[in-house]
């Protein structure tokens, strides 16, 4: 939801802290689930991630989550899906070139990042998304990457 999304950016520092706190727990749980159930529970886990992140950030489930590096503003809401924004078309009032009724996702991102402890992460260059991951869970991906490293 748009208003919740703006709220998340305004409170990016809180969400960053929350994320840093719960993320290891989520990943540990998912590793446990994977060990016991394999991939059987992927669909409900993905749906849960989509529901929660959708509500908070208007997450588009790109499968390459970058929220911690984008001031808690989901870059996939940018009509040009820019991963290193903003573009040069931002309106003087900070609204999006393409959707004048929406605050530019990347104006929000730099703003959110300025409040985050690790906000400088936005300064690192992100390569384009892997389109094969669309609709997949980033949490499961990260959990399984950890498992591969552990093995």
């Amino acid at each position: 939801m748009y208003s919740v999304r703006l709220f998340a950016v305004r409170h990016s520092r809180f969400f960053e802290a929350l994320y840093n706190f719960v993320n290891p727990a989520i990943l540990a749980t998912l590793r446990g689930i994977t060990r016991v159930f394999g991939k059987k529970l992927d669909a409900p886990i993905t749906a849960a991630e989509a529901g929660l992140k959708g509500l908070l950030f208007d997450c588009q489930m790109c499968g390459n989550c970058a929220l911690s590096k984008t001031g808690m503003s989901c870059p996939m809401n940018c009509p040009k899906t820019i991963r290193n924004g903003p573009c040069g078309g931002v309106r003087a009032n900070g609204m999006c070139e393409v959707k004048p009724e929406m605050r530019c996702v990347w104006v929000a991102a730099w703003d959110g990042a300025s409040r985050m402890k690790d906000g400088d992460a936005i300064k690192s260059v992100e390569f384009a998304v892997d389109h094969r991951d669309k609709g997949r869970s980033t949490w499961l991906k990260l959990a399984r990457e950890d498992m591969k490293q552990d093995n």
Binding site: I82, N84, V90, A92, V107, V125
Partner: protein
């Protein structure tokens, strides 16, 4: 560098043959040479024709002869269909011009872009400008599917990979890498103004070696931006070329301000045009004055003159500004350049 500084003897027999690549240069092109020699460069934009006529391209380019160091061939700018940037560049390189291939991410995915990059280099193109591109809704085919597989920064990384690692993004080897001088754009005049220098840093980190900016009509904002860029050491890492515009009237200026994304024109410029007896002349004077001021700013490496539908005046503003000093940019010999129309 005047045209005579280039050892013509070492150049092939055709004007479009590549120049030898100088020590410390990434491309074979003249544009990179001008910048690396420390000259204040002037670039401009050619409007690709709505036509299959190659002569139309040459006629439009000839208007800039002797005044510009490179010519940007726009890529479906404003999301409108025109002759492709690659084709315009290929026509221009035949005569030895230094075109800048603009690649927008709106219409092509990474497979197509990498193919075009190789093709462009094979056709003698030495410069590329990486752009994200305008939204399709801005153009005459709003029903088209926007691609945006990459963004401008990923695009610069892609070309850098091809050139410096000699591979496609997939890792597959290239037999001969595209020797392109890589550029990117920046708009210091729209929000988030306080982060635009940081974004410039990202563009440079992604591989941009020169930058061309959006229209500059607001000196204080630019000076602020440049001082941040200098503080971050960015002016040492890339050549920063600032965009300037030729405004024909207050009416057009106002229209551009409200309809062209990313164009910022302060009220005092509009007032000047309104009050001028000859607004067209005033517009050219404004442009020339801004160019003179740019030349004084530490770290500004050149001016990019955008004169859409006023291309015939580019030479006039460059002359008026005096930014070239006594340097005359290379231009092809005046010959019959007719390629002939395919009909």
């Amino acid at each position: 560098m005047s045209s005579t500084d280039i050892d013509v003897g070492k150049v092939g027999t055709n004007p479009g043959d590549p120049l030898p690549r100088l020590e410390g240069h990434v491309s074979h092109g003249r544009f990179e040479r001008v910048l690396k020699a420390g000259h204040f460069a002037v670039t401009t934009e050619i409007a690709p024709p709505d036509s299959a006529d190659p002569d139309e391209v040459l006629v439009r380019a000839a208007m800039f002869d002797g005044y510009v160091d490179a010519i940007n061939a726009t890529d479906g700018s404003g999301a409108h269909c025109h002759m492709s940037s690659l084709a315009v560049c290929a026509i221009l390189t035949r005569l030895g011009y230094s075109p800048i291939l603009q690649i927008s991410c709106r219409d092509r995915n990474r497979i197509s872009i990498q193919g075009d990059t190789l093709g462009a280099a094979a056709l003698g193109v030495c410069n590329v400008l990486c752009l994200t591109g305008d939204d399709v809704g801005a153009g005459d085919h709003p029903e088209a599917k926007p691609v945006f597989d990459l963004d401008s920064i990923s695009l610069a990384q892609t070309i850098r990979t091809m050139r410096d690692k000699k591979t496609f993004l997939s890792g597959r080897k290239l037999d001969l890498e595209p020797r392109l001088f890589i550029g990117s754009s920046i708009n210091p005049f729209v929000p988030p103004i306080e982060n635009r220098a940081d974004q410039l840093a990202k563009k440079i980190a992604s591989g941009a070696e020169y930058i061309q900016s959006q229209y500059c009509f607001d000196m204080p904002v630019l000076k602020d931006f440049m001082s941040r860029a200098r503080d971050l050491g960015l002016t040492e890492e890339a050549f920063i070329i600032i965009g300037v515009g030729v405004l024909p009237s207050a009416k057009t200026a106002k229209w551009m301000r409200s309809n062209v994304p990313g164009v910022h024109i302060p009220d005092d410029i509009i007032r000047r045009l309104e009050q001028a007896e000859k607004p067209k002349l005033e517009g050219r004077k404004i442009c020339a004055e801004i160019m003179q001021q740019l030349k004084e700013i530490d770290g500004v490496a050149g001016a990019h003159v955008m004169a859409y539908r006023q291309e015939q005046w580019v030479g006039d503003v460059v002359k008026r500004s005096g930014v070239l000093g006594d340097r005359k940019p290379w231009a092809p010999e005046k010959t019959d350049t007719t390629i002939g129309t395919v009909s």
